[in-house]
Symmetry: D2
Subunit: 347 residues, 4 copies
């Protein structure tokens, strides 16, 4: 038995009708696990406080035991990502561009896919002039169909790097396979983990060991808690230059491609210390409504906005339906800045 001041790692609440034998069994099991238990009575129920090594307690399937109604974890499942782990907000530095904390809201823009050298150089110059601070472009593309364009791979990375060298904009690109990481690291300034790989734990561990910052997109079928736990995989390997990116979740609504969950922005900022990016392009999927949702994202507290911009959306090799024209983007920037200023941020 443990005194009432030992730190509890878990509290077990029994069913109203739990028998004395069931309660004895629960306590015996807790002891078997090398943990301590203190029993107190709450009327028809019994409350068992469990103390000991937390990891041990988490692994044990106490909820499955007869007589157990609920097991309440005494601590959060994530630690390194939790706001309390740092107190203040983190900022991430990408080649001199600071994202998070009180930094200016950053615009991360570019085409869905890198398609050619000319395309990248041209769009990079245009975007820089309009106010973008980072350049995006996919060289390795996760495509639902094996028959869709899969990306230019290393050639695409080279075009990206060339655009960076010419404009000074740092570049971000997706990595899909741990084996591609060395080559991506050679060209990119920031690694992107796509929504479909948020649960690819091998890949998360691998980018957790990279020297490059990482932008982790929320899985479109993942809860906010699961999203933070995937971030924890990266942080646990030592990489703390981490950005979280909300990009829409899957719901029954079919007018939009996904449903942008903007509530995730203030929640992620309250529960973690990490900067939060919003990608309205993939969430909404309909070009006409993306500017308004970019504006709402800034108002919701996003630290950066990721937007697809393409000089000729009708010719894009992927996702042409949702890319903004450069002139639409250029007209959007002052509107984003006005809202950023209204909520006390620069842009």
């Amino acid at each position: 038995m443990v005194g009432c001041c030992s730190p509890r790692v878990m509290i077990i609440i029994t069913e109203p009708g739990a028998t004395p034998e069931q309660i004895e069994n629960i306590v015996a099991r807790v002891h078997e696990f090398g943990l301590e238990a203190e029993v107190s009575r709450e009327g028809a129920r019994v409350v068992v406080g469990v103390a000991g090594a937390e990891r041990m307690a988490r692994e044990k399937p106490l909820a499955a035991m007869p007589g157990v109604e609920a097991v309440v974890a005494a601590t959060k499942p994530y630690k390194l990502a939790a706001r309390e782990a740092r107190g203040e907000s983190s900022t991430v530095d990408i080649c001199g561009l600071s994202i998070g904390g009180d930094s200016a809201v950053a615009l991360i823009c570019g085409p869905c896919s890198v398609e050619s050298r000319e395309q990248m150089l041209s769009i990079a110059r245009t975007l820089k002039d309009s106010g973008a601070r980072m350049l995006r472009g996919g060289a390795f593309k996760p495509r639902t169909s094996p028959y869709s364009f899969q990306g230019l791979r290393e050639e695409g990375l080279r075009f990206l790097a060339e655009a960076r060298n010419e404009t000074g904009l740092p570049v971000i690109t997706e990595v899909m396979d741990p084996r591609d990481l060395p080559i991506v690291e050679r060209y990119a300034d920031c690694l992107q983990i796509g929504s479909r790989n948020m649960h690819n734990f091998s890949l998360l561990r691998e980018v957790g060991r990279s020297h490059l910052p990482v932008l982790l997109k929320r899985g479109f079928g993942a809860t906010i808690n699961e999203f933070i736990l995937s971030a924890e995989y990266i942080l646990k390997e030592g990489n703390t230059n981490l950005l979280l990116c909300e990009r829409g979740i899957r719901t029954f609504e079919t007018l939009t491609r996904y449903t942008l969950d903007l509530s995730a922005v203030p929640i992620l900022k309250a529960k973690t210390h990490l900067p939060v990016v919003v990608d309205p392009t993939h969430a909404v999927g309909l070009r006409d409504f993306i500017p308004q949702m970019a504006i709402a994202s800034v108002a919701a507290g996003a630290d950066a906005i990721m937007l697809e911009v393409h000089e000729s959306p009708a010719c894009a090799k992927s996702d042409g339906d949702q890319a903004l024209l450069p002139e639409v983007f250029a007209r959007l920037v002052p509107r984003l800045r006005a809202v950023a200023n209204a909520v006390g941020r620069d842009l």
Copy 2:
């Protein structure tokens, strides 16, 4: 057969392997319905243009016929709600308060339930001083459990009316049953149809015949298209003083009570001419994150924001977890105004 200039109400596309018999049957069926058909060939497929009375065409289950791959409606399923029906945005006048179009963004505030005369008078005065323009409060409460507080009914309506008389703020309250409508109309300035009744078509028709404006909340399991069709039920009866209200949809995310679908705001404003209200309180359900989502709602283009405010949330008879304190609301108003101004609106 119909000439190629007759207005089509529907286009039928056959399967690649549709047989001549199947195509003949499709055409025969179209004729049976008193509609006209023109057949053209698109390679392996046949396209059948259907002309005639639209309602007739909609009712007919042509998609069920052998050989049919798809039936594309030539027109939208809603007419009166469609933006094209008016061209410009509608504004709704509620006792002199104008919502929609270029009007100032309006704040509609109050407790979830009317609980007492003192409560309503006190909160009404406080809210008016802080900048609210309309007072909300439930007298008839739709509660998931029959054992929960069901509202003060007519007594609650009287308290609401008294608060209106004292402060001049128009009042909005929910009506749940067609039989309660006459009594609610006696006291209220605006009728609310709750999320759980968005598909209660009898009730929609009934408020469609009322002289009072109506705020229609989106069903938490309803698509945007279904939402607009429910609005159409009300408009069809002649009541054009109609506000649409996004209040969160049900998704797999459990941290928030519902998922606020802010994308619905620009979409509803593009597809319909009706003013759009956002209720972040019920969507988010967590007091700490509601102010941020109210701000984002204004940025997304909402014409009004509905917020629960309670002087003593811990004592509220319903939904205490999510009501804002009056002082929190008072501090929120200038932040909402700053964002409204940044997007070119007053508040």
Copy 3:
């Protein structure tokens, strides 16, 4: 303070860092509500047992108080529907047809809408010959669009009654409005509450006072717990002849109209004593896959299966895409019977 043997109605668990003042405030609030509290310490947390009138405890927003982490209800929110309320399974008698308990699995069939006298008489005879035990048909139709066929109303009820008189099959039909109840009661043998009205609490109360049995469909956006609470509304008014009907929930999958949640069948049968019906027609919405899902529903433990059957689906006034042809239904019956027998039931 309350002794440890007083029956608890609620257990409050504080946050690890709750201050003594917060705990005092929580206890003070519990006392204000006329409830009793007993405080015990669980390491960094405090557990407050609350005793007193349950309804009182439920209404109180204790979870909103500073320092509170979780409030665990000591009892289920529903009572009359709970299995423990009866111990054994209920059976519902509809004009001599028994559904639930060990009764044979019943087939409830018919067209979506009543369209004509001839249609109903003809389909009723055919269905009876094939093994159907109850006849369905809509006279009041809840349609998403106000421009769709809304039903024959009283004329439709008359055709239904005539079909019942001729075949002896009891008839079930939907009621959408409390004001229509008297006329529906005059003709029908069982009342149906549709999915869109599961949260229409006025209507639930009204059919709770009817002498006729009720089939309550699950809202397509409703959880199982909410479904049981809607049943509780009906039971609370005294009508215990109640059938629960799973008919699909709304998910991101778009190939099927809804997603049939067959897990709800064993769960509803474990948590409540009420018979459970499955309607695969509306859930799947694709004629080809309905027979297989009807078979799976019987295997999952359904007490009755509701199926749309239409002699000429391509001419149906509503939902023609999903109705089975009578000959398809006739061939399905022995397959359903074989599976019913395999799980120990007649059909």
Copy 4:
């Protein structure tokens, strides 16, 4: 222009108000892509038939062009998985165990994680005696939290192989990383791709080149069409020994861990030629309701059922709440067999 007998790869339907210039632009774009176009008029709309190389047509974002309302693909996005690709159902042979087609329904059982040599040998013998035909057990575990047990890795594979050698049951285990494939191939008889990796396209390609059969689980956030496209990735690399596994999708219902989408079984069997497995354990997540859902899965047409069985669920290192006890499984087998027989299958 292309004659009306050229095989169309796509049909473009314009908006009712599309201008002649818009239509000219659409046709010009089609030509730019090296495709052919034929224009026909359907009243207010124009229909453009597109002919040429299909892959080219798919890549082109024609839907983004002004004046385009809809683009209908003339062929399915998957080919190798499509039922028409083979006509008959495939069977997959795993060390002499045949799954699919008219083969007996197979039971694939074992613990969630491989925990020890004794555990695996003991459970393997017990399961074989009860009627299991394949042994499952995780050596590489995809865990939401980095602090959870991550599997015994190669040691676990050795225990699995030893259990196979002793009992003759083929073994299936999950592979999470392309770099682990060689070692997993050394021990396993069948590779499992978990739900969280259904969109891990690098991994799909890699197992597509393996000589071992693959069981692909549906992503819990993936549509049926996306699921089939992921299967297509594997088939395209040449591995045709492929099993599809439905294991629940994420919905708003929280009583069950996921929602088992049994409708996917007949749909997958109609649209593809691949065998379909159901895993009710992970879908339901509540031990009490798993047997009933296993029975329903057989009735729905599953070719195999995957079940977690653990000799001491309360001690399991992962997912103890949902594992069946061996004696519960033993009692379930004859019930599964009865239903299999009732639907014309052995087990």
